[in-house]
């Protein structure tokens, strides 16, 4: 996770939003609780929305399945 943190910080620093979609998805997959996973999924989804990323519909579907999105 420490390595992931570093990569997230680097992607934020570079405003690499496509990378942020992937990295927050990775963080969600490694989270210990549903709330933590949805927190990270939300970030992945928002950056996917922002950039028109192909993963946006799937991320939306995951959040919606947990009652976290409309």
């Amino acid at each position: 996770m420490n390595d992931l943190n570093q990569r997230l910080l680097a992607a934020h620093g570079a405003d690499d939003r496509a990378a942020l979609v992937d990295l927050y998805s990775e963080a969600a997959d490694g989270a210990n609780t549903l709330d933590a996973a949805c927190f990270y999924l939300t970030h992945a989804y928002i950056f996917a929305l922002d950039t028109g990323h192909v993963a946006a519909p799937a991320l939306h579907a995951r959040l919606k399945s947990h009652g976290r999105e409309e």
């Binding site: 927190f39 939300t42 989804y45 928002i46 929305l49 922002d50 028109g52 959040l63 976290r68």
Partner: protein
């Protein structure tokens, strides 16, 4: 702070006896605010051109009379104007011209909007990882859209939302120029320029309306476009301007000319018309090109003129286009000392608004009369509401 309304009683008299607008209409911030509502927000005002956002997702932040606006071409190609703020905390959404790849994301809390203005996500609004809340109804919280209409590539906005439909409000000019109701192709980067001028925006309108000044301020026109070749254009309460009967086409090195707009009647072989469509757009049409000047009022004594030139075909000769831009730029620059000089003149306390030539100034008086009528109507409405 309340201010004493200006006396406009003599402005709407017949041109022979009328006086121009009082100084306060050019130098008083309180009157500037009064006119903002009466002349610009209640009417169809020019904001920008659709060519500023040529492709879906193109977004340009603009300021109009202090309002932060966002000009945007949505994913389906429609040009829209929104308030450029998030419905959450009022944060500015788009800081510089850019392409919206997916959604418009507020940089503050990342609320996201579609290019059609719909609120599509509200991250953590119900707590971390909870992106919905019963109190936050997305359908009610889309971007605030400003009523807009495209004509002659100009993006017209009616901020108050109370004006008649654009086609209805401007039916007279649409009819007059129906022969030009066909695709206009912006000449591109070499066919637009801006002129910042230290003047009230109305003085730019007033100067544009009349041909009286042409032989003095634009002596280069005397050789082929004499004063007597011009005629007035006046549609009270709508627009005014001037026309010429001796328009000569620009020619290239080998005598080539720009293509004509298709299907024009013979009248336009040598005619050209220049109209100020109230409040703030100056238009010109010729057989082979057109232009639009959008006056962006900044303050009582600052205006930015945004000039755009158009052609009947998407491809035209680069050199001729550059020459045409240069020609018009030099003409419009010749007007700057006049509009700035009149602005400085409005600080002369004993100036009474001036008198009009009954023969030569009627298009300008037409504009003054419109201003006075709109301001008086607005005052009457405010009084009735008290």
């Amino acid at each position: 702070m309340a201010h004493t309304p200006t006396d406009l009683s003599s402005v709407r008299k017949p041109v022979e006896t009328a006086q121009g607008l009082p100084n306060a209409h050019y130098i008083d911030p309180a009157v500037f605010q009064e006119e903002k509502q009466a002349l610009l927000f209640d009417e169809w005002a020019g904001l920008a051109v659709a060519s500023d956002v040529p492709e879906p997702g193109d977004a340009v932040p603009l300021e109009f009379m202090g309002m932060p606006l966002l000009l945007l071409r949505d994913k389906d190609g429609a040009v829209r104007v929104f308030q450029n703020i998030c419905r959450h905390r009022g944060m500015i959404l788009v800081e510089e011209p850019r392409k919206i790849e997916g959604a418009i994301r507020c940089a503050y809390h990342s609320w996201c909007y579609s290019t059609k203005g719909a609120l599509v996500s509200t991250p953590h609004v119900g707590g971390p990882g909870h992106n919905t809340h019963a109190a936050i109804k997305r359908a009610d919280l889309g971007l605030t859209e400003i009523r807009s209409h495209i004509w002659m590539d100009v993006v017209w906005i009616n901020v108050s939302g109370t004006a008649p439909a654009f086609e209805e409000a401007n039916a007279d000019l649409l009819e007059r120029w129906k022969e030009f109701d066909k695709p206009l192709y912006h000449g591109g980067p070499d066919s637009k320029f801006t002129l910042p001028v230290k003047t009230n925006w109305k003085l730019a309108v007033e100067n544009y309306c009349e041909s009286y000044h042409l032989p003095w301020v634009h002596p280069g026109l005397n050789s082929y476009s004499r004063l007597e070749d011009h005629y007035h254009i006046e549609q009270p309460e709508k627009y005014s301007g001037q026309g010429t009967l001796v328009y000569r086409q620009l020619k290239g090195h080998d005598g080539q000319v720009f293509p004509d707009f298709a299907g024009l009647s013979d009248k336009w072989n040598e005619a050209a018309e220049y109209v100020a469509l109230y409040p703030n757009v100056l238009l010109g049409v010729h057989r082979d090109h057109a232009f639009a000047i959008i006056l962006q009022p900044i303050s009582t004594d600052e205006t930015v003129e945004h000039v755009h030139l158009y052609y009947p075909a998407p491809q035209t000769d680069d050199g001729m286009r550059a020459n045409n831009t240069s020609l018009w730029k030099s003409v419009f620059e010749e007007d700057i000392f006049v509009v700035q000089g009149m602005q400085r003149g409005r600080h002369a306390p004993y100036f009474d608004g001036g008198r009009f030539s009954p023969v030569m100034d009627s298009p300008t008086h037409c504009f003054h009369s419109w201003v006075a009528g709109k301001v008086e109507n607005r005052r009457a409405m405010a009084q009735a509401a008290e």
